[in-house]
């Protein structure tokens, strides 16, 4: 089946998706119609880590969504950045597994001597394997990284039945961001890694005055840029 209009596919963890307005699990967050699909076997607990056993499940989910007419795909866990090349090679439509993909762009706008601040779900578990998956290395990128580990949002997100609200995410993300900016006043731009953090995007931008991008920013850029009828589907139909 092919489609002639944009359709975004979101590959979700098995954890209960957060669906409050402005979140990645809410259809109104996107500039196009959206299909949500859970990835078999993918949980916060095993996606955040370094195992590769989930690659086939992400590939199968991506192929199924492409066959259903999706014109671009994202996930709801930025730690899947390490599967970016595998999934991108398996489908013809654009795929963006993680907002970490926006880091090189955001860094290229920095004036000399400034840094990019990344706020993540868990800074102890975000490593070079995730950065490499998103196409860059910490060795050459001017970034500082902070996480919300230990916070109430962090505990809730590890829970299979994830229950979050905007106020809680704003509080925990702002606290981490403040600490990072106090330690690194040279930070002049922010990338939010975690897919729950778009809920805090406006609050971070308002409080810090710094440009801030996140998963929803990227998902909308991706779906607006995608072709209405992907090349492979066209070739198959002709």
């Amino acid at each position: 089946m092919t489609t002639e209009s944009p359709l975004l596919g979101v590959m979700q963890l098995q954890n209960t998706p957060v669906t409050v307005p402005g979140s990645m699990g809410h259809a109104d967050s996107y500039d196009a119609p959206v299909v949500f699909r859970r990835v078999p076997g993918a949980w916060t607990s095993n996606v955040v880590g370094e195992g590769r056993e989930l690659v086939p499940a992400y590939i199968e989910t991506a192929r199924a969504l492409e066959a259903e007419g999706c014109t671009a795909l994202v996930t709801n866990c930025g730690f899947t950045a390490r599967f970016q090349k595998d999934v991108a090679a398996a489908v013809a439509i654009p795929v963006a597994m993680s907002s970490l993909l926006m880091v090189p762009w955001a860094a290229s706008l920095l004036p000399p001597g400034k840094k990019l601040g990344i706020v993540t779900y868990d800074s102890n578990q975000l490593t070079e394997v995730h950065f490499n998956g998103a196409g860059w290395s910490r060795k050459t990128m001017p970034v500082e990284i902070v996480g919300i580990e230990g916070s109430e949002s962090w505990h809730r997100m590890a829970d299979p039945d994830t229950k979050l609200d905007r106020a809680m995410v704003e509080r925990d993300v702002l606290a981490a961001t403040r600490g990072m900016l106090a330690a690194h006043p040279e930070i002049s731009s922010i990338v939010l890694e975690c897919s729950a953090f778009p809920l805090a995007g406006d609050a971070v931008r308002r409080e810090t005055g710094l440009p801030t991008v996140h998963f929803v920013t990227m998902a909308n850029m991706l779906i607006r840029s995608a072709a209405p009828s992907p090349r492979a589907a066209r070739a198959a139909a002709e």
Partner: protein, 239 residues
């Protein structure tokens, strides 16, 4: 109150077509368009660095006027990216060439980015390196509108373009490039007038097209409001 995007434009006359960078309707937020003294298609695309200070001054003026971010209507101004970024405290995105490392990150191994520019004979490694990447490290292929009717019109003091002309010339360049490099998996338009043809090229080639408006929206969203959909949802939730 949404702060506007500041757009530093060439002095060539405005193009009143959907997707044109000089049409306020091309932006889903307020925009201030201001000509940069001495900047025209002809000299800027030929790498004239004498207009650098004028771009820096214009960027400062946009910041003073309350703009959230600064873009320009000529992707060849990547040459002035670092100077403009250093001169103001708001984000500056001079050229859609800045999106290349992001697009490369999206693509699988072995895939290529097709870059379509106003004039492929004038786009140099220096323009790319000033945008933060090197053609030695990124698999690209470049073609342009050089020699076409659109190319001639874009250099006119008062360009007379039509959607049909842009679709024809940009579409043909895209097809030529893809035929030569079947491993192209995404297209990037350097030229800020090419978004007039973006939807046509997306439908014609089946490939994603990243362009000047992609960059303008992303940069403004980063600095100011959320995307329209999210803002609408947030407003509805607040009511």
């Amino acid at each position: 109150m949404i702060r506007p995007l500041g757009c530093l434009r060439l002095n060539n006359g405005p193009i009143a077509l959907p997707g044109s960078p000089t049409q306020a309707e091309s932006y889903p937020f307020p925009v201030i368009l201001e000509g940069v003294p001495g900047a025209w298609t002809e000299n800027v695309t030929r790498g004239d660095r004498s207009v650098r200070d004028a771009y820096v001054e214009s960027a400062r003026r946009m910041e003073a006027r309350g703009c959230a971010a600064v873009v320009t209507t000529c992707g060849f101004t990547s040459l002035f990216q670092a100077d403009m970024a250093a001169a103001v405290s708001i984000p500056v995105a001079s050229s859609s060439l800045l999106l290349v490392p992001f697009i490369r990150g999206l693509l699988p191994e072995g895939a290529r980015i097709g870059i379509l520019t106003y004039d492929a004979t004038r786009l140099t490694d220096a323009h790319m390196e000033a945008a933060g990447w090197s053609p030695k490290e990124v698999a690209i292929a470049v073609d342009g509108a050089q020699g076409t009717e659109s190319w001639e019109q874009m250099a006119e003091e008062q360009p007379e373009l039509t959607v049909e002309m842009m679709n024809r010339d940009v579409g043909a360049a895209a097809e030529r490039l893809i035929a030569k490099h079947p491993d192209i998996r995404a297209l990037l338009f350097e030229c800020t007038i090419f978004p007039i043809a973006s939807d046509h090229v997306r439908a014609r080639t089946g490939l994603p097209v990243y362009d000047y408006l992609t960059l303008a929206r992303l940069t403004h969203e980063a600095a100011e409001a959320q995307n329209t959909a999210t803002s609408t949802a947030a407003r509805a939730a607040a009511e």
